[in-house]
């Protein structure tokens, strides 16, 4: 039966079909919907799912589960794999018992990310197999296969979808359906030679890993994920979704180009050798790093040293960004020397010239805007404002986001900037989920090493940017069940901050006052600006009366400069549109008492 499924939902089906027992993750676009799709059915399938506090934790929990013999998966976005890299690399030595699949979704073009790194490199680095699905159907099917392969090889397997697979939708044959995890108990069987990576054991396990490379190659060589079509003597080799772009391009060009589609890394040596012997020139099409291209350059030396290789290194395929079938088509046409069929889009210079930009912005009534406004009032434009990763990074125009590097970096950058010699005020900001993910060690470090900085924790009681997932501060688990709720204030205190105060950013005066005290503090101060994400609050049924501008408005633009999308400037006066969520902050900013609550709302 076919269903219309999001790629991530298709991967979730694969996890269920494989009968996995434990799935862990930290939310991250484009991977978040995998665990979200599992949440409604996890109990029925005897499946433990969790939002872990970060990706390293997620992978380690999944490893523990695998060592009891259960199938497990750890799910993350590509940069999350950096956080999980420590267990990931040694896991290749220890190996697994129950099949363990690491799912790391890459983001060509940085749609929602701070970089364009390529997870395939990680798999090669760790010497484990990697699967590169082209579409939602393959993503589901490969997920099932990945568990089987992992168990067969006793190695973790990396599944690497990209944004256009994870966030694509397609008709997916859901096939065999779902398998429940067996209820027979799984136990941890002691085996120090495997599970204790002491140097002596690690040396042995490294040899085992090296010996397993032939078995990996043999398994992948015979897998159905690499497809060869021999036609003319010009060829294309393409990885994952690029294979679909190439097939479309070849069909549209009505050419007889041969094609080898690659879905596995390492690529299949024999199939590649057959291809190299057939073609005289080959174009490598892949997104992100030239992983396949480097393989082809190496392998062709042995099988066809004359082979002409085009790709990223020759400028035929862009080195960065994402591809589509037009890019593939023009590159293939170029290889075929068919300049007349190269297509340029119709020229649309007007669009750039006349259209106003429409960048994403914080929602109307977002508490981050209010907190940042007060922060800037107190610290002034001269202070240094390291920031972090979350919705609040969108406030870069407010002047309170001076840095954004990776999850949890804000506090450490603030410390480093202080120790580097900067003597201005330094006030960094970090979201609640980001603080719990990786910010706590930074705060501890700043306290320990006497960094005189202010740390603002923007606590909106959710992981907003990735789709409002719960975290340990919310008292709710991934399945919506109640659990202990961790107090961020208590954490800041116990980590040793000299000043800790929680304030509601919707109360402007109180927030200004708290920031002033934090600024005066001689040691390390922590301000917790706590107010629920307005989007989440509205979903939960919270309704506030909207505000409006009355005749007192003198057109000073103070409220407009605050930047709430609900406030417009029209004919020399401010006005509030229907997007207002009633946070009331603009009314406290207005120096003329011109903004008031609408008393009689229909």
């Amino acid at each position: 039966m076919k269903e219309y499924l999001l790629g991530n939902a298709a991967i979730a089906r694969g996890i269920l079909e494989a009968g996995a027992g434990v799935v862990t993750s930290y939310p991250g676009t484009p991977a978040s919907e995998i665990v979200e799709s599992l949440a409604p059915v996890s109990k029925e399938y005897n499946l433990h799912i969790e939002w872990s506090v970060n990706e390293k934790v997620a992978l380690e929990v999944a490893i523990g589960a695998s060592w009891t013999g259960v199938r497990s998966a750890a799910v993350m976005k590509h940069v999350g794999l950096n956080v999980a890299a420590d267990p990931f690399m040694t896991l290749a030595y220890t190996g697994v018992k129950g099949g363990l699949v690491v799912i790391s979704s890459d983001d060509p073009f940085c749609h929602s990310s701070q970089n364009e790194q390529d997870s395939r490199r990680y798999a090669l680095f760790a010497c484990i197999p990697c699967l590169d699905p082209a579409d939602p159907q393959e993503a589901k099917d490969m997920t099932v296969y990945a568990f089987e392969l992992s168990e067969e090889l006793e190695l973790p397997v990396l599944l690497r979808p990209t944004t256009r697979v994870s966030h694509a939708r397609a008709d997916v044959d859901v096939g065999k359906g779902k398998t429940k995890k067996s209820t027979t108990s799984h136990e941890f069987v002691k085996n120090p030679a495997r599970w204790v990576a002491l140097p002596a054991h690690a040396r042995t396990r490294h040899s085992v890993l090296i010996e397993k490379q032939d078995a990996i190659n043999a398994a992948l060589e015979n897998s159905p994920w690499n497809r060869l079509v021999l036609r003319g003597e010009l060829g294309v080799i393409a990885s994952g979704i690029s294979g679909l772009y190439a097939e479309e391009a070849i069909e549209r060009l009505e050419s007889d180009v041969s094609i080898l589609r690659i879905g596995t890394f390492p690529p299949p040596d024999d199939l590649c050798a057959e291809f190299f012997k057939h073609v005289s020139k080959v174009l490598i099409i892949e997104e992100l790093e030239p992983v396949l291209e480097e393989y082809v350059e190496r392998a062709a030396r042995e099988h066809n040293p004359e082979l002409e290789i085009l790709g990223k290194n020759t400028g035929h395929i862009p080195r960065d960004g994402e591809l589509d079938s037009l890019i593939a088509r023009n590159a293939i046409a170029d290889m075929l020397e068919l300049t007349h069929t190269m297509e340029e889009p119709q020229s649309m210079t007007e669009a750039d010239e006349i259209l106003p930009p429409r960048p994403p912005a914080l929602c109307p009534g977002c508490s981050h805007r209010a907190a940042y406004y007060a922060m800037k009032q107190v610290f002034g434009t001269d202070a240094v404002f390291p920031s972090d990763i979350g919705c609040y990074t969108l406030a870069v125009d407010m002047g309170t986001v001076d840095t954004c590097l990776c999850m949890g970096a804000s506090i450490n950058l603030a410390s480093g900037i202080r120790f580097g010699g900067e003597d201005k005020d330094i006030c960094c900001s970090i979201g609640d989920s980001t603080f719990l993910h990786n910010g706590m060690p930074g705060l501890l470090n700043a306290v320990y090493n006497n960094a005189k900085i202010t740390v603002t924790i923007l606590d909106n009681l959710t992981t907003a940017m990735t789709g409002h997932q719960p975290h340990p501060g919310t008292g709710v688990t991934a399945t919506g069940d109640k659990t202990k709720s961790v107090s961020i204030e208590a954490l800041a205190n116990v980590l040793g901050a000299d000043f800790v105060e929680t304030v509601d950013p919707y109360d402007l005066n109180a927030t200004l006052e708290t920031f002033r005290k934090a600024k005066e503090c001689q040691g390390l101060s922590v301000v917790i600006a706590k107010q629920a994400c307005i989007t989440n609050a509205i979903r939960a049924g919270v309704r506030r009366k909207p505000f409006r501008v009355n005749d007192n408005c003198v057109g000073c633009r103070e409220c407009v400069d605050f930047g709430c999308p609900a406030i417009e400037f029209h004919e020399d006066r401010a006005r509030i549109n229907s997007l207002c969520t009633g946070c009331g902050v603009c009314a406290q900013i207005c120096p003329s008492e011109a903004i008031e609550e609408v008393v009689n709302v229909k």
Partner: protein, 196 residues
């Protein structure tokens, strides 16, 4: 339009206008028809009130992205966004455009200007010989809820995409809450009639 085999649609709009819901109704209808379908959507950071685009490829077995210059239909839920993504249109393609603007904050705060409708439609008409306009937001208000604008546009689109109307309506029924079904049915009809 390549009704028989493949029809590439690009939907452009603003975060919050229901672009993804609209695309999903079309995609599910295609599956009901037993036809292959591919779609791509925007999640995460780009969504917060920013410009949003989805790709839907009916009868397609390749990748989910409509190539630039390849769309048979451009469905613009907002005029400026229609122009922003007009380069996706193929030479013989058609554009269906809601004429009701949503002003970006760069405009409402006086940092940028929103061009008059004529200036948006003129370049669109230059590259596309078949631009159809409708005030879908007003039609949706007439149907009972301006939020149903996306379904007015779906009704308009139903005249041009190779999916049977009753299947599209069935998919609509399964995709919206029952209490809003009546309004949405009216919105669909009003959009469709506008194209007659």
């Amino acid at each position: 339009m390549r009704t028989s085999e493949c029809c590439d649609i690009v939907v452009a709009g603003v975060g919050g206008q229901g672009v993804i819901l609209l695309s999903n109704i079309i995609g599910k209808a295609a599956v009901k028809e037993g036809s292959p379908v591919r779609a791509a959507e925007t999640h995460g950071m780009a969504q917060r009130g920013g410009s949003v685009i989805t790709h839907i490829r009916l009868g397609c077995k390749f990748g989910p992205l409509v190539p630039v210059g390849g769309a048979d239909i451009l469905l613009g839920l907002e005029p400026a966004e229609a122009l922003r993504y007009a380069h996706y249109l193929s030479k013989g393609g058609i554009a269906l455009v809601n004429t009701n603007p949503v002003l970006p904050s760069t405009v409402t705060t006086g940092r940028a200007k929103y061009p008059p409708l004529d200036e948006i439609l003129a370049p669109l008409r230059r590259i596309c010989s078949d631009v159809k306009t409708l005030d879908a937001t007003k039609l949706a208000a007439n149907a009972g809820n301006p939020q149903a604008m996306n379904v007015v546009m779906l009704g308009a689109l139903s005249k041009y995409m190779p999916l049977r109307e009753e299947i599209v309506i069935e998919s609509l029924r399964e995709s919206v809450p029952a209490k809003f079904l009546e309004v949405n049915r009216r919105a669909f009809e009003l959009g469709k009639i506008e194209m007659e």
